[in-house]
């Protein structure tokens, strides 16, 4: 078999490779190319402008504002998700009757479409008859009721809340899987040595779930930083750009101002930042795992 088998396997993969290659790599390469041009849907002529788009970005206040919001949103959402996810993982790791039911139900928030999630939260937070405001009124806190998504202060926390709500179970289930693969003997030995439950968590559980933790954090930093739907569908970047993030700014530049070249340059910056973050994280975890 040897060579001929390999060759026919390659034949088998050719259609899929062409598809994967052309359709996955082409758009990203074309995105890079566009970022070096002044392509616009308003003008038929296109010329190469080198790094001019990137230089313009440096003086674009809204770009910096969006970058700040994106970073804040990503950091806040991922930190909260990780802590709450870890808590849920620990709870789901307890052997109590009915735990299987909770485990199987947990991921439900992750599977429903983001557009639907936005409706759920807009409905909970609607100004007059939303659940949040009804509840606050019933608790005698009527003065705290507000139009949550329309408030400059509260719109961003609402978006963070939606991100947290959707993804906490995914962290929990992944961390739970990592926790379950820890040999019980380790805990028993530590208990014999007189380690308390906090010490056992710190010295056995945490190191054992470090790899999964880093993978989950990297995946969600990428997801959150790139996510368009949550912000666009809930606030559209408002009120008065209080929740403007890079994806919504790119979308606006592309489809409202038709400045495709310029918006591609913002997209390239986003990707560049994510690549640096991902490489740094993987480098960190490889180093830690080896030592």
């Amino acid at each position: 078999m040897g060579l001929s088998a390999t060759r026919s396997r390659i034949l088998l993969v050719v259609p899929s490779l062409i598809f994967v290659g052309v359709l996955i790599l082409y758009p990203i390469l074309d995105g890079f190319r566009l970022s070096l041009t002044d392509t616009s849907l308003m003008m038929p002529s296109v010329s190469f402008v080198g790094l001019r788009n990137f230089i313009s970005l440096l003086h674009d206040d809204i770009f910096w504002l969006s970058l700040g919001h994106s970073s804040l949103l990503t950091a806040a959402a991922v930190i909260l998700q990780y802590l709450l996810g870890l808590g849920l993982a620990i709870a789901l790791n307890q052997r109590v009757p009915g735990i299987g039911f909770f485990r199987s139900l947990a991921m439900v928030t992750w599977v429903i479409p983001i557009a639907a999630t936005v409706v759920l939260f807009k409905w909970m937070a609607t100004p007059d008859y939303g659940f949040f405001n009804i509840l606050l009124t019933k608790l005698g806190l009527a003065s705290y009721t507000r139009y949550w998504f329309g408030s400059i202060t509260w719109a961003m926390p609402m978006i963070i809340l939606m991100h947290v709500w959707r993804n906490v179970p995914f962290y929990a289930i992944a961390l739970l899987a990592a926790m379950k693969s820890i040999p019980k003997e380790l805990y028993e030995a530590a208990e014999v040595d007189g380690a308390g439950s906090l010490q056992r968590f710190w010295f056995i559980t945490l190191p054992a779930i470090r790899y999964t933790s880093v993978i989950m954090i990297v995946l969600h930093v990428i997801f959150t930083f790139n996510n368009f739907d949550f912000v666009y569908l809930s606030t559209g970047g408002g009120p008065v750009r209080a929740t403007e993030v890079l994806p919504t700014y790119v979308y606006q530049q592309s489809w409202m101002y038709y400045a495709l070249g310029y918006s591609a340059s913002i997209g390239v910056i986003m990707m560049f930042l994510l690549i640096i973050f991902t490489i740094a994280s993987l480098y960190y975890i490889e180093g830690r795992e080896r030592s």
Partner: protein
């Protein structure tokens, strides 16, 4: 010992109930609202009484002029994406799993494509589809969703295929089986859970997508449910009874499929992330 056991049980349940109240309340609240009649949906009463519960909202929503068409569009696009993604991911993952140098290349492709800002690749997608005349066509949206779903699908399936011992397929070659036969008779049956997860994942990506459809769909011919939800949401006066009903209709299929795929979902999602 007995007392601390009870304490542990009670604490665990309190924490679990707190978490699941947080996670389930928004879903339950919108479902409940979809059964309230229009006269009480905008009221601060939490329980308006049985006589205000109705299925009229569902009848009204389904009889909206565009609604059946939108459901059909969403379904066609999601099923098309599922079939195409599973087929291509199977072929590519099999090769990537069995050929050393493709294994590394596929990992690199997958990892880097996970970092794509979708708002960036959306522009070339639009331009390609415009050139091919596929804007506002099912096939243009299906192809786009397939590309979005493909990298992760490939990664998951490769994880499953890697676990099928290589000497199993070599034994089959010696017995005179071709590659397609090895794939369909040996590898796929063993990896059935992986296929189920990939199919589920691809369906979800397509069913829930808003961004790409918002650009590639330009008429009722290809409008999907998420777009419809958005148009309901930006109305001057939001009809919450219709919006919450449409939302439930959008969520229900995903929850049904989730309950079927749930058993293998986590394992599948982690298949690529598990350290060798």
């Amino acid at each position: 010992m007995k007392r601390s056991h009870t304490l542990h049980l009670v604490t665990t349940y309190i924490i679990l109930i707190a978490y699941f109240t947080f996670l389930l309340l928004p879903i339950l609240w919108v479902t409940y609202s979809s059964f309230k009649d229009a006269s009480v949906i905008n009221s601060s009463m939490i329980w308006p009484g049985f006589k205000h519960l109705t299925v009229m909202n569902y009848i009204r929503t389904i009889s909206l002029a565009d609604f059946p068409r939108v459901i059909l569009n969403t379904l066609i696009i999601a099923l098309g994406t599922t079939v195409l993604t599973v087929t291509i991911a199977t072929l590519a993952a099999y090769s990537a799993s069995r050929i050393q140098f493709l294994s590394k290349a596929s990992l690199l492709t997958v990892v880097s494509s996970q970092m794509y800002p979708y708002v960036l690749v959306m522009i070339p997608f639009y331009m390609i589809m415009m050139r091919l005349g596929l804007v506002d066509k099912y096939i243009g949206i299906i192809l786009t969703h397939t590309v979005i779903a493909l990298p992760f699908s490939l990664w998951m399936l490769k994880g499953y295929f890697d676990r099928v011992p290589k000497n199993l397929d070599e034994a089959a070659y010696i017995d005179g089986c071709g590659h397609i036969k090895v794939l369909t008779r040996i590898i796929l049956p063993i990896s059935a859970p992986g296929l189920a997860v990939v199919a589920f994942f691809a369906f979800m990506v397509s069913w829930g997508d808003y961004l790409f459809v918002s650009i590639l769909s330009q008429s009722k011919a290809t409008t999907t449910l998420t777009i419809l939800l958005q148009t309901f949401m930006v109305g001057r006066r939001i009809q919450w009874e219709i919006l919450s009903t449409a939302t439930v209709i959008c969520i229900v299929p995903t929850i049904i499929l989730f309950s079927i795929a749930q058993k293998w979902l986590v394992e599948g999602l982690m298949a690529g992330a598990v350290k060798e």
